[in-house]
Symmetry: C2
Subunit: 407 residues, 2 copies
């Protein structure tokens, strides 16, 4: 079977390398006599690269070659990835992608095209890098009704938060350290503002709950507004602050889907996920909590997931892998403000004692801790963020500086 | 499709319950029009039980019923489970089991029978209870050469160790607490002595490295000889003591396979696995470290894994799931004493200063910590346990009271 790679960046070159490195066992596990990497599509030429001779610049070459059964898309972005992937599927080629933006935005459409043309569209690498999550979620936990999925889905922000927690390093300083270590891009917006995690939680939500969730339906909050005071105060209550993507079925049947800095109890395994590592928690009605942990990015770890999908495509040339989801809709996704949780609040009051008195009236189970700065810092007890915001707004002279949910 | 359960204990009754609880989604995911639980084989009658009417006592009823396509074995033990399972496979029925002793002892034979008769023999529940591990290991990580697999595979011993570490509770006291909480059996030997973990690491080793590993080939050491002093001293060096099942490919190509209390660095996620939870670490040459965490036992978690296998059997009525391993052999398994690791040693010397001087000569990179009791306590630096034992034996008047490996 012949394979083409589209996009020779970090992940694409990792796939070429891994196919070569573990070639013998990969072929044996794919039930094929051979797996031949034939083309690598890229804009550039890569002179001197070991795979230089495979580089092509014209997508049509791949499309027209009937021997190409599997196309790997590791270009990233929507254009031209979406067009290329769609046309490959229409031409009867299976596609494996690591492109979370593509799956989060166009997943339902592409799954439909793949189904109509009896080919596979697989994307294990699009969430959690090398961590096995999509098959475990759809197959191993198939006996469960999933009630919640929550994860540390972005290594860059987890590295920054780890430094803020463990070294009391301010956000800006920790971001620069991440950049110096190669963990953050020069323009770190997609990571810092939560957009990367947002795309991943969309995919996990769709797999867990059966309908497409679009990035614009997800309330997304990044970590740039967090201070070391926030992180320290959360620590005083026994929590670590982690950027969590989270999708949860509410009692009304709708799915609450969000990305936000979240307080994770220190006893939770998620609280102990440090630096650039990722972890995904799945809650099911039979299994209770399961956690999958590992490297969420990187050349070979991500390639490991891509190649697992290649093996799966090669094994299933005449049969499709059965997973996917239905079309999304506005009725499916709840407002995350309707999800009742315990909340952490920091605020400054004109008259602290008076504000405290009013707060105790509004939040009878609230728990307060003294802060060095004299600001008010407390946990509300379980309530919907909507009600908490209304209640806090009703107190004169109270300025809320931070408000975070608890896992 | 009709299903029979053999053995109506904790797991078997969980399977019946879960099939009922999530029936609709389970049937949909199995691609069948129905999944009908028809018989439950047990020695007892269970009057008043919701599934009382399905109870039968004669195995031949299941064997002769041509509509039974999937048989669930949750009896445990080798006899009569082995005979029953084998005859079901010979009769063209797929078998799903949670019986680790059966798979660790007879797995290769049963996989061969299943292959010859084109049926499935699946056993996700036999390792790590509800934690998805067998599919992730064989499918999601298929692009990797696995170099090591190590896990906290027994909840009872992990509960006891957690109490010893966190509460400085002596072993006997922690064992009684585990028994009072229903986490340990009245006869806790199989857990405490490591036999349960041994069966599980046999299965993981076979899946990871491709040949059957038999329990008698695994050096198995339990936790009964651990003292709170050991645990505390390990803590001083920055480690948590965990009972690990461990299988590792050595530079000579052979597999070292062992069960033993092991020092796990406190920064490792495995060190943070508390109480009855289990976790399995897989190391691959592309993925680096991945960890799977969750409930390693219990009625519904284990049933979750069994029912996932049932769904898989139902989806693959005409095709087999491709995984298994080759026959084992003496040449395949290494002596765990040949695996070079850092080691933790506690010892009492007739002349402490003189012994220390000799030790420094033998272990130039050794690291020592003072103990309250005045006993010698040190890390050897990386060496094979064989050499460490020889070296320690060469010191006159030195009595080794504890010797543990580091992960």
């Amino acid at each position: 079977m012949d394979i083409a790679i589209m996009g020779y960046g970090v992940v694409g070159s990792g796939v070429a390398l891994l196919l070569q490195k573990n070639y013998e066992s990969i072929v044996a596990r794919s039930m094929q006599s051979s797996l031949n990497l034939k083309y690598i599509l890229d804009l550039l030429d890569f002179p001197g690269d070991p795979f230089e001779s495979l580089i092509i610049h014209d997508f049509e070459t791949i499309l027209r070659d009937e021997n190409i059964g599997i196309v790997v898309e590791t270009m990233g972005g929507l254009n031209p990835a979406y067009d290329f992937v769609r046309r490959c599927l229409l031409a009867g080629k299976s596609v494996v992608t690591s492109n979370k933006e593509l799956v989060a935005t166009k997943g339902y459409d592409l799954l439909c095209v793949a189904k109509e043309h009896n080919v596979n569209f697989l994307f294990e690498a699009s969430v959690g890098g090398g961590i096995p999550i999509i098959r475990p979620l759809t197959q191993c936990l198939a006996a469960n009704e999933i009630t919640e999925v929550a994860g540390i889905l972005n290594g860059t922000t987890n590295f920054i938060l780890t430094r803020m927690i463990e070294n009391a390093m301010p956000f800006d300083h920790a971001l620069r350290l991440a950049q110096n270590n190669g963990y953050a891009e020069t323009d770190p917006t997609a990571d810092i503002d939560g957009h990367d995690a947002c795309r991943k939680i969309c995919i996990l939500a769709a797999l867990s709950f059966g309908q497409h969730v679009y990035p614009e339906q997800v309330r997304t909050q990044g970590i740039a507004a967090l201070t070391t005071d926030d992180v320290e105060a959360a620590g005083d209550f026994g929590y670590a602050v982690k950027l969590l993507g989270r999708a949860k079925r509410l009692p009304n049947g709708r799915i609450s889907c969000s990305v936000a800095p979240t307080l994770v109890p220190r006893e939770s395994m998620l609280a102990n996920v440090r630096d650039v590592y990722n972890a995904i928690l799945v809650r099911g009605n039979a299994i209770d909590d399961v956690i999958f942990y590992g490297r969420g990015a990187g050349k070979l770890p991500t390639a490991s997931a891509v190649v697992a999908d290649i093996i799966d495509c090669a094994k299933h040339t005449t049969r499709r892998r059965f997973f996917g989801w239905e079309a999304g809709g506005t009725h499916f996704v709840a407002d995350a403000d309707d999800d009742a949780v315990n909340m952490f609040v920091r605020a400054i009051a004109d008259d602290t004692d008076q504000a405290r008195q009013q707060l105790v009236g509004l939040f009878p189970t609230m728990e307060e801790k003294k802060t060095a700065s004299g600001s008010l810092c407390f946990m509300t007890g379980v309530a919907t963020p909507r009600l908490v915001k209304q209640a806090l707004a009703s107190i004169d002279g109270l300025q809320v500086t931070q408000m975070l949910r608890v896992l």
